[in-house]
Amino acid sequence: MAETATATPEVVLSLKGLRKNFGGLRVTDDVSLDVRCGEIHAVIGPNGAGKTTLIHQISGFLQPDAGQVFLGGSDITALSPDKRARAGLTRSFQITSILPGFSALENAALAVQARSGSSFRFFGTVADEAALNSEALAMLSEVGLAERAATPAGLLSHGEKRALECAIALAMQPKVMLLDEPMAGAGHDEGQRLIALMMRLKATIPMLLVEHDMDAVFRVADRVSVLVYGRIIATGTPDAIRANPQVREAYLGEEVAHA
């Protein structure tokens, strides 16, 4: 089953012929791509190209009609989202998704808890578990949220919530990260910080990045795939994508020329 996926050993995440229909509408059309060690692979495309649907299928929140998803060489197509997460696949959400009633620290600690021992423990105060807290705090520091550790996550600013999502993702120690428009709604400074963070992390955590912000994509991505009407029309280096006449015609045109 994994024979084609592991053709190159450095591939971490690989999609093979994913297909998804919503009624008569084909939203994902034979999509194959891979994410290699140490790279940021960006997927760009106009609104409605099926980017978020693709993320949902990779993370398991939607089942594809056909095709497979491989993580580190093993087929995870049949796994539920939580099993995929435990296998090392982490995703962010386009719309901020945190646990608003918990403090920032508790949010991150829960992610540490998920991969460290059983959570069917009914006794022992979790708030006193030093191992969880110190690791969670380290993750918050990584994204610049250490001072906000005790603040309820629901009261954080939008940018801080985005940063908290990154801390949660880091706390999971993933093999690969799926980022669904992380720059959306981020201010200029927050955006710059996120870009710096991605550049710093990509050596250890390869990423599949879905993003609208072309400027950001062309700065951080090692490879870019262009998704139009659910179909990948080109994959290549940022320069190759910029120069690709088919891409220009189908979608980017002006935007790429200026980026």
């Binding site: 939580d82 435990r86 918990f102 829960l110 992610a111 808890q113 006794f123 105060t125 979790v126 999971m172």
Partner: protein, 315 residues
């Protein structure tokens, strides 16, 4: 945890502990009986708050567990098995089993569907009890005496029985408090806030919610077992859907998600009911609107109201 959430339960339990001393002055079993009943239903409300307040699981059939606990005691006693511990163990086991089966199915649904399906299971238990002709059917079953402790009729003494109930309430409270603060409790509360995020972190909420549902059901069974001992009577009415609704009202009225709020809610509900019904037989006409007003104007229930009074800055 705010300081008040440590002080209030302590005050509450201390107040409950001195109630029997009143009996030294007033020679009357009435108060003892009433407060025992309050505490027993407070245990059931506590059970509901564990899944409602911390898991957002609105069970509209929780009275079924009271009934199962009560019938376990009644049926065993009618066959001559009148030991306290035997009865308790069977009551807990039966409610755990019922919770496991109904929970496994109910928890596959969400929101209104969960409410409806728990109601349906509750009604199923109600009609099953009504059809038990050998055990009184609709009329219920009179139990000869309270359970025996090591063959002795210790619980015949109302004051001693009162303290057994109080100890059960405290034990249930401490257990729930520990669960809520544990790793398990954190997962349960996370699933209440954002199940999708929990899945993305790597938690499937279902087994955690099911475990919480079973624990809650068992605490409900404990309540029923004690209720049958208090009244020396068992009836399908213990598990009517109205009673399930009352449990929800108690929890909401007292203040969801605090545990001691459920105790306060149960006390407020039952004492208000008792007091109003002393005036007029149409007490429900007054009681209904009062509940509406409490829910409307006391956000966070009675407990939330008290906390706002105590520390205005939390407003």
């Amino acid at each position: 945890m705010p300081r008040s959430s440590r002080i209030i339960p302590l005050l509450l339990f201390a107040a409950l502990a001195v109630v029997p001393l009143l009996g030294l002055f007033i020679r009357d079993g009435y108060i003892l009986n009433l407060v025992s009943r309050v505490m027993i239903l407070a245990i059931a409300a506590l059970a509901l708050d564990l899944i409602l307040g911390f898991g957002a699981l609105v069970s509209f059939g929780h009275a079924a567990f009271i009934g199962i606990g009560a019938y376990a005691m009644g049926i065993l006693a009618s066959h001559g098995h009148d030991g306290f511990f035997t009865g308790l163990v069977v009551a807990l086991a039966a409610s755990a089993l019922f919770a496991l089966i109904t929970g496994a199915i109910s928890l596959r649904t969400r929101g209104v569907y969960f409410i409806m399906i728990t109601l349906a299971f509750g009604q199923m238990a109600f009609y099953t009890a009504s059809s038990l002709r050998a055990y009184g059917g609709d009329d219920g079953l009179t139990v000869a005496a309270r359970s025996l402790v090591m063959g002795a009729k210790l619980l015949k003494d109302d004051r001693l029985f009162y303290y057994v109930v109080l100890a059960s309430l405290i034990a249930a409270y401490v257990l729930c408090r520990a669960i809520v603060a544990s790793r398990f409790g954190r997962v349960l509360q996370g699933a209440k806030q954002n199940p999708q995020r929990m899945q993305a972190i790597g938690f499937n909420p279902y087994p955690y919610q099911l475990a919480a549902y079973v624990i809650s059901g068992m605490i409900g069974g404990l309540s029923g077992f004690l209720l049958a001992n208090l009244t020396e009577f068992v009836s399908p009415a213990y598990m009517s859907w109205q009673r399930s609704g009352e449990l929800i009202v108690m929890v909401v009225m007292g203040g969801m998600g605090s545990l001691h709020g459920a105790i306060i809610g149960a006390a407020a509900f039952l004492l208000l009911e008792e007091w109003l019904s002393g005036f007029t037989e149409h007490w429900k006409v007054i009681f209904g609107p009062m509940l509406v007003l409490i829910v409307m104007f006391m956000r966070g229930g009675i407990l939330g109201f008290v906390q706002r009074l105590a520390g205005g800055r939390h407003g």
